[in-house]
Amino acid sequence: MDDALDLRDVRITAKGVPLLSVSTRIAPGHVITLMGPSGAGKSTLLDFVMGGLSPAFRASGSVWLGGQDVTGLPPEKRRIGILYQDPLLFPHLSVAQNLAFGLPRGPDRRARIDAALAEIGLDGFGPRDPATLSGGQAARVALMRTLLSGPRALLLDEPFSKLDAALRDQMRRLVFDRARAAGVPVLMVTHDAADAEAAGGQVIRLG
Amino acid sequence: MRLLTTAFAALLALPAAAQDIDPGNWEAVLAEAQGQTVYWHAWGGSTTTNDFIAWIGDRAAEQGVTLEHVKLSDTADAVSRVVAEKESGADQDGAVDMIWINGANFAAMKDQGLLFGPFAEQLPNWQYVDVDGKTVQTDFTVPVEGYESPWAMAQVVFIHDSATVDAPPKSATAILEWAQANPGRFTFPQPPDFLGTTFLKQMLIDLVPDPAVLQEPVGEDYDEITAPLWAFLDELTPHLWRSGEAYPQTGPRQLQLINDGEVDIAISFSPGEATAAIANFQLPDTARTYVLDKGTLGNASFVAIPYNSGSKAGAMVVANLLLSPEAQLRAQTPDILGYGTVLDMDKLSDEDRAAFEALDLGIATLSPAELGPAQAEPHPSWATRLADDWVAKYGTN
């Protein structure tokens, strides 16, 4: 079974003007980095892969995941997780409820969430208000929330740009290690060359 | 939450079968009335009347009829509602089941065929009504013919604060002289308000040599007959409260003005109003009433049932209740309403008559003897014409 994320002849136009075209295949556990100046359409591409392209844009081509064409599927059926520069934890839910939000139905939910918290060094943080977490803690919870939902691919949109230098390295390592361990393909957009370097995979330059 | 549940009931109400009942068959009326809701559109500007109507509602509930008082700022609101319904062909289960009415509104509705009837003289309690002594079979000279049922007698009285006015003016001329001597301390409700128009009629009756001419509809001699009234008003207006640039909009509003010390004299169509107002702190306890030397206007208040009411039987039950000695006694009780009864004391049982005789009318209410006989209401065309002309001369500048 092919668990790769496959972008086939993806072309995006904005009001008839070509914006970008990409064709690439990301193997499970590998990272591909898209780099380019702002306005190059990096985030627009992520929207297309996620399945939420703004009507201002037109796209052709298709997204394949696990050997299946997911282009026509609604976002929630694609199981493609996304991480932004902000952790975007749901502010009205506790840390544990945030983690449980995407966790597929099954037994031992509490135990799995507790274990996940322990894995990222946040033992006992379950009942906490996400607004009381530090930036690094919140970023880790956001990562874990996505991983717990069992994604088939992971998108990263400038994921580390808001962290300070010390934390940034730590988070990069954590994210890439986890993705590799989970065996999901990762597509990252960034304008930070250090991100690309840490990811270690192929780099595509846009614009 | 009775109001609420009936509002829901109104919401879900299905059009009732439109079959008019026979008022002569009271058993059938009572049976039909069971469970009906009667929307009584009555002027709601006086809290004492509102309380009385609520009390009637409790009595009606005992007979299986729900009474809702729709408080109007002007009786014409209800009339125009019925008109609008007729226009749009809503000939069944209209919004209005009963209207507190008399005079021009009655004449207009009767003329337009907007009223149900005749029913009044078939009501069981009609037997007690004083048909000879009180003007209950004509309304502003228009024959009633059973299309409305009387429930209270009203007579014009003037209220004054005896602490500030020791010799109140008792004729049109005296009022003018008093106002000239006390500028800014007299006013009257603004016509076409009912009571304001009544003031114009009252002054006209006081000023014309022979008030009998007013029993005929307005004719070609209108200018000649009303000339003394306009001369009187031309002289009076500059000396009125606010120099006649503003007027109280209704009768009860004058009570507040007396209480605030802004004016000293007010006109009222309810001999017991002052006593009731004293009890409610709306007037100082030095308020008293008086009538003019030549007497004052009197008329009856009626209730009528629109042709398209869906609760005609219920409305008749309420009209009948209003004529019961118990309700009439309550209406005449001064600190409740203080309205004159329409019943003939000689037709009542000894017990009921004794109860009426035992009533203490209150400090500010005149006895029937002091009130004197009521002057007859002019034909309704006078009220309309006087109000229109007043508005043109004084109400728009």
Binding site: M50, G52, P55, A56, P74, P75, E76, G81, I82, D86, L88, F90, P91, H92, F101, G102, D129, A142, R145, T146, L148 | L3, A7, A10, G44, G45, S46, N50, D51, K71, S73, D74, A78, S80, R81, V83, A84, E87, G89, A90, A95, A108, Q190, R242, E245, A246, P252, R253, Q256, N259, G261, E262, N280, F281, P284, V391, A392, G395, T396, N397
Partner: protein, 553 residues
């Protein structure tokens, strides 16, 4: 599924207005078969024009509407320019904001007692001036409508202020003011030159709403406006309820005249805007300053008076509701008693229940439609143009008096349902305007994150977006309820008096002048409007008391 909702909502806003206007136009042109008019004629207009007070009433409407709008706008400029960003401004904002909820009727009733020659102000001055009787001065209901204008300004200032405050952040006022001041402008001159034009552009439609309301309101004009003659809309309402059938056609003609007058005033206003723009540009070009100190002082004093009028008016209602005997020139009643509450309280509570039921139902429908439209906008990327905004404002820009009579014949059977439907037409725009900005300001990345971990659109809406927007949703609901509670003409005309609300009862009582009853009912009305706001403040704080991230939105 949500796709047709915006169209439906647009129809809901526009159709009643258009149908109502046509329903008014026909009888005005002599076509009303049911009252025996089936030809076409201009007779109704001739009758309306023959009413001796018409010219004066029309001029009065025009004058009070324009003066109230200009006055409110001038005061708004004075306090924004003079005080925005200061501590005094924050205090003023805190006092004025809740006044937005205050129904016009309750405010007008309170103000009427406050400023009357026998009112509280005169009573306070009586010992100093040695008055034992109130002076015979025409203050309330004066012929020029000055008290009406003052009442309208006091009531509309909070509305325009809140609208401006909502528009301000995107203009970055602090940075702009700093720039202006560093270029040598005074505080007020800098503010008015650099920021106010932007604010005005954002609040242009609300200003027009104020203009239309000022020209055509009935409830405030009946209480504070002159009567010899009254404003045109009050006279039209009187014609509408005249027992003489022919007067209904006259009323329709009067309503059409009123509509024409409003349209003319709007054209005049737009011309005025152009002129003011030119003057403003010239002023900026010449680099003239302003007498800063006197203007700032005038701003804060006048705004405080405006707030004080409404607040002390409310207090006067409260005192009257528990007053025993109370005569001029006593500052307080001889003793306090609960009698008026026992007398009127139970009935008032029943009517309050109906009022809140209507308000709750119309608000719930308005919320559902609004959220549906906003969600459709979000999901299908529909972007509303400026035309949609005008549509939203349509029921507020066409005078009620011009289309309610026509609407009355459409929704004839008076019931809770028809009144609720009529209220919806006025509640919907306010709910939409109130919820639109916070809804659109919500970070859509939350929706993508949630979708990425498997949440469908419905789950995102119910479990993420709505809980996160609980506070603005409740605020919009409170705005909607306050609007519904305050509706007078729609309730009166569509309900046919059969559906009593706190507002219709309070206005009916105003005519009677029993201040104790007015106090009880007026307080009840104000309470019904304020309570939802209190809930909208308390509920989110309570529900999210353990969630720091949910404070301040």
């Amino acid at each position: 599924m949500l796709r047709p909702l915006p169209l439906l909502t647009a129809a809901l806003l526009a159709l009643p207005v258009l149908a109502g206007v046509i329903g008014t136009l026909l009888p005005a042109l002599g076509h009303a078969p049911a009252i025996g008019l089936d030809g076409w004629s201009l007779a109704p207009f001739r009758d309306a024009l023959a009413w001796p007070g018409l010219t004066e009433a029309a001029l009065l409407s025009l004058w009070t509407g324009l003066a109230a709008t200009l006055g409110t706008l001038a005061l708004l400029a004075l306090i924004l320019g003079g005080w925005h960003g200061t501590r005094a401004f924050t205090a003023l904002e805190r006092i004025l904001s809740p006044l937005l909820a205050m129904p016009h009727t309750a405010a007008a009733l309170g103000i009427a007692f406050l400023i009357a020659p026998s009112g509280w102000i005169a009573r306070a001055l009586a010992p100093i001036l040695g008055l034992s009787r109130p002076p015979d001065l025409l203050i309330v209901q004066d012929g020029l409508g000055l008290s009406l204008i003052a009442g309208l300004i006091a009531k509309e200032l909070p509305f325009l202020l809140l609208m401006s405050l909502a528009a301000l952040p995107q203009l970055r006022p602090n940075a702009r003011l700093k720039t202006a001041r560093s270029l040598g402008q005074g505080r007020m001159a800098g503010w008015l030159k650099a920021i106010f034009p932007g604010v005005y552009r954002q609040i242009r439609l609300p200003v027009l709403v104020v203009l239309v309301y000022g020209m055509t309101n009935v409830d405030v004009a009946v209480i504070l406006g002159p009567n010899t003659p009254s404003t045109l809309s009050v006279q039209v309402t009187r014609w509408m309820v005249d027992p003489d059938l022919a007067m209904r056609a006259t009323a329709a003609a009067g309503a059409v005249i009123q509509l024409a007058l409003v349209l003319a005033a709007m054209v005049f206003w737009v011309a005025l805007e152009r002129g003011a723009g030119r003057v403003h540009r010239f002023w900026v070009w010449c680099n003239h300053g302003l007498p800063e100190r006197p203007l700032r002082l005038a701003g804060i004093v006048l705004a405080t008076i405006a707030a004080g009028l409404v607040l002390f008016g409310l207090a006067s209602l409260a005192v009257w509701s528990v007053a025993g005997p109370w005569r001029f020139p006593d500052l307080a009643p001889e003793f306090l008693t609960l009698r008026s509450w026992m007398r009127h309280g139970p009935e008032m509570a029943q009517v309050a229940a109906i009022t809140l039921l209507i308000a709750g139902l119309s608000t719930l429908i308005a919320l559902a439609l609004t959220i549906g439209c906003l969600e459709a906008e979000h999901r299908h990327g529909m972007t509303p143009g400026s035309r949609a905004l005008w549509l939203l404002y349509l029921p507020l820009l066409i005078p009620q008096i011009a289309f309610l009579p026509g609407l009355q014949s459409l929704l004839l059977k008076p019931s809770l349902v028809s009144v609720t439907a009529a209220h919806l037409v006025f509640v919907l725009p306010y709910v939409f305007l109130s919820l639109g900005d916070p809804w659109r300001a919500w970070d859509p990345r939350y929706a993508r994150v949630a979708a990425g971990i498997g949440a469908g659109r419905a789950r995102v809406l119910w479990q993420v977006r709505l809980p996160m927007l609980l506070a603005p949703v409740l605020t919009a609901a409170a705005v909607g309820m306050a609007v519904s509670v305050g509706q007078y003409l729609p309730t009166l005309l569509i309900g046919g008096g059969r559906v009593p609300t706190l507002t219709t009862e309070a206005v009916a009582l105003a005519a009677g002048g029993d201040r104790r009853a007015i106090g009880v009912w007026g307080l009840g009305q104000a309470g019904a409007a304020f309570a939802p706001f209190a809930l909208a403040l308390i509920l989110p704080a309570l529900v999210w008391r353990n969630r720091k991230g949910m404070r301040n939105g």
